[in-house]
Amino acid sequence: MARSPETVPVPDERAPGETPALDGAAVDGSDEAPGFRVALSNFEGPFDLLLSLIAKHELDITEVSLSAVTDEFISYLRGLDSAEELDRASEFLVVAATLLDLKVAGLLPQGELVDAEDVALLEARDLLFARLLQYRAFKEASRWFAAHLESESLRHPRSVRLEERFRRREPELRWTLSAEDFAALATLALTPRAVPTVGLDHLHAPLVSIREQAAHVVAVLRRGEPVTFRELIAGIGQRGVVVARFLAVLELYRHSAIGFEQLEPLGELTLRWAAESWSDENLESLGADYDE
């Protein structure tokens, strides 16, 4: 399953590695606009295309350097100015979280199917692929919606005032409101809509705080010794915590608080403390992108 991208025969698609100019739209019907592009050692092109290839198993997720993707994304973010582009950027966060999930699942040792945990891991991986595909499918569907809403907004339905002679045939209005009722109605109509909060928390899986995970990572790394990511997640059973810790690592890296070292693809990821000055206040703003 984990085929190397260099040796993959690509039946109806162009080779992923050597086609920097190919247009994502032609492949997956996505953005014609130049969106976020990535340039990795084994892939260069639009982000959507990267996703599409990963989803088709034509590019193994473990071969993709997500730190490089993230680096590129951060520099891409710096160049953004319009709201539309920011929309695009926030999409990335959603997909990136899934990708990180995937990568974590992909990196963890698989071995033989010896115990239920391994099976669960593989299932989780398939589910993640499915989630990615589903995400992309709805994203594409949303383009159809946008196009139709746009074209339909230019159409003109006949919608003219009812002729006077028919108006008189309407049933007489039964008015039941007092002035006070009417004022209450006005208050209701003019009040900025308050957020209707329905307690849904019990329906969600427990949330993992990236900030808390970052605090843990900071605490471990500030001792000064380099630590591998494997060590950092040793003993954690919940996938969500692993993912959050990984995101925390990325966030800390983004704040130049830590540095990475990875000698070879798939190799051990070693983290070390890099911040010259750090106060716990820095944690406050960390991971704010992931808050909703």
């Binding site: 003109h156 006949r158 919608s159 003219v160 005032r161 009812l162 002729e163 002679r165 028919f166 108006r167 045939r169 309407e170 049933p171 007489e172 209005l173 039964r174 008015w175 039941t176 409101l177 007092s178 002035a179 006070e180 009417f182 004022a183 109605l185 006005a186 208050t187 209701l188 109509a189 003019l190 009040t191 900025p192 809509r193």
Partner: protein
Amino acid sequence: MQDRGPELSIVTPLDVPGQAQLDLDRALEAILFIADEPQGVVQLAAAVARPVAEVRAAIARLVADYDGTGTSGEPRTDIAEEEASARGIRRGFELREVGGGWRFYVRAEYDTLVADFVFTQSSSKLSQAALETLAVIAYKQPISRPSIAAIRAVNVDSVVRTLLGRGLITEVDTDAETGAILYGTTDLLLTNIGINSVDELPHISPLLDDGQGGFDLD
């Protein structure tokens, strides 16, 4: 959208890039079809950038067409006019000149049918949406349709039409800058509520006076 190139072919509103020139009769038909108020021939002539006399002739053809006594379409020299004499369909609607302009009306024979339909369709009570929109207008008058829509965060066209039709609101003015129609409430509304003037409406929180702010219009 389309590359119009350097040509200067767009001369009138009837020339639309990428399609055959619009027929004058059909163009007038389309305009009258969506117009709320009777349209004067001068207005119409301006809209299609054609001489008033041509517009008059076109309207005469349309009237005959809908009456089933003639056909419409600009006289053409490029194709033979074989069917000019064809007996047409007497439509369920007609074009009539009222108040200095032309407007579509339901043909009189269908009045009873249409009136019954209107009667069954409309209710003796206003919808919640209509009541809320009415309240917005009452407290914010004079107010334009876009401003109401901004407050209600929905399209209010049909609701405003209903309220106008019910005689609860009326057009009171026109916005000097945008030309948008401004709406206000009528005496009928005051009568219904049982007050003499809008000043007697109960005071509502001044916080709401700007009616904006905090709305995520998305």
